[in-house]
């Protein structure tokens, strides 16, 4: 098990929590600090290169793929 507030926890939350993902991609350093995550500086730089628009599209595609399940639950 990796640390609870490290890279794995950060990325895992960003995959699922849309509000957190939005804040993280808009302001990586401030969001990481505010939420108490401890991650390598390299990851912060990589987050700055993520394209939020492309990421949002990927999420929308995935949501569409499972829309039937969501509607049923």
């Amino acid at each position: 098990m990796s640390e609870t507030k490290g890279r794995e926890a950060l990325i895992g939350r960003a995959l699922i929590d849309a509000d957190f993902r939005s804040r993280l991609l808009q302001a990586p350093e401030a969001t990481i600090a505010a939420e108490g995550y401890t991650v390598p500086a390299e990851l912060v730089e990589q987050l700055k290169s993520v394209d939020p628009d492309q990421a949002a599209a990927a999420v929308a595609d995935f949501d569409a793929a499972f829309a039937d399940r969501k509607a049923a639950s």
Binding site: E8, I11, R13, L15, I16, D17, A58, D61, S73
Partner: protein, 287 residues
């Protein structure tokens, strides 16, 4: 970042499978990422097996994967996977019997002394070190032993994790009899893609996301939205089981996906899930 050693695998071969006895207990415990058994189906027989599938295809219930209904050649299943089933499982249960029968027809004579399901159960039993049988739900309904998955060129299987199944309403019946919270994934390539189609497993565990998964939906019911760009920032490992090999890995605990299929050949795999029984000794399998 492929190649990080966070998911150790043990490899053996079908003729020497006794050397792997009980090894799934290590996967269940998290000390091993999975086991690869070469030659579960002898590679020399795979061509015949694929030709048979072409002939027997109509005997299988066929279900498109969710979200691909508008495409001319969508990914689909031979059989009906519980992951895509309705919450009341009516559609799924109608497909169980025909799927099991068609699988046994497909593999008729492939294994020297047993049909498909008997041979698969024997193999799982040896790997798990405990009896193996098909999963049966709380109300006594049997589950499908396995499904075949056909992924045409250009398609992929998006990022997912086995334990998210816990959050789906159709899991309730099975969760009463099987420890689906510690499930393993298995598959065997029947026909590899010309390019791509690899399994990529990320160093991202269910424990790291389950809390947010629940919060994101208001209840622990729904599949999370996924961002491939973000997950690519984590260490990952690529697994390429050769055709005919059986891979059992910790797909319940680790996020994984299948890379897009390239070239002109569809990727065909046989697969499903395994977990320990809640109602007695042994492991149970389903798809």
């Amino acid at each position: 970042m492929p190649g990080a050693p966070f998911l150790p695998l043990t490899r053996g071969s079908a003729p020497k499978i006794a050397e792997l006895a009980g090894i799934l207990a290590d996967v269940r415990a998290g000390s091993l990422g999975g086991v690869l058994v070469d030659g579960f189906v002898p590679p020399a027989l795979l061509g015949d097996l694929n030709r048979r599938l072409d002939t027997l295809a109509a005997q299988f219930p066929q279900v498109r994967l969710p979200g691909y209904d508008d495409l001319a050649a969508p990914p689909f299943l031979y059989g009906h996977s519980i992951v895509g089933a309705s919450p009341d499982l009516v559609d799924y249960r109608a497909a169980v019997g025909p799927t099991a029968t068609a699988l046994n027809s497909l593999f008729d004579g492939i294994f020297p002394s047993a049909g498909f399901e008997e041979h698969f159960a024997q193999t799982l039993s040896l790997l798990a070190g405990t009896p193996a049988g098909r999963a049966v739900g709380a109300a006594g309904h049997p589950y499908a032993p396995a499904t075949l998955r056909e992924l045409p060129p250009g398609h992929q299987i998006a990022l997912h994790i086995g334990n998210a199944f816990l959050c789906m309403p159709q899991a309730a019946d099975l969760a009463a009899t099987v420890d689906v919270g510690a499930q393993l994934s298995w598959f065997m390539p029947l026909q590899p893609a010309d390019e791509g189609g690899d399994l990529i497993v990320y160093d991202l565990r269910w424990d790291a996301v389950s809390e947010h998964y629940a919060r994101s939906t208001g209840s622990v019911r729904q599949q999370p939205a996924i961002n491939h760009q973000l997950v690519e920032l984590l260490p990952s490992t690529i697994i390429r089981p050769p055709p005919g090999a059986l891979l059992v890995f910790d797909g319940g605990r680790f996020f994984h996906r299948v890379r897009p299929v390239g070239g002109a050949t569809a990727r065909r795999t046989l697969g499903g899930f395994v977990a320990w029984s809640r109602t007695g000794p042994g492991v149970r399998y389903w798809s």
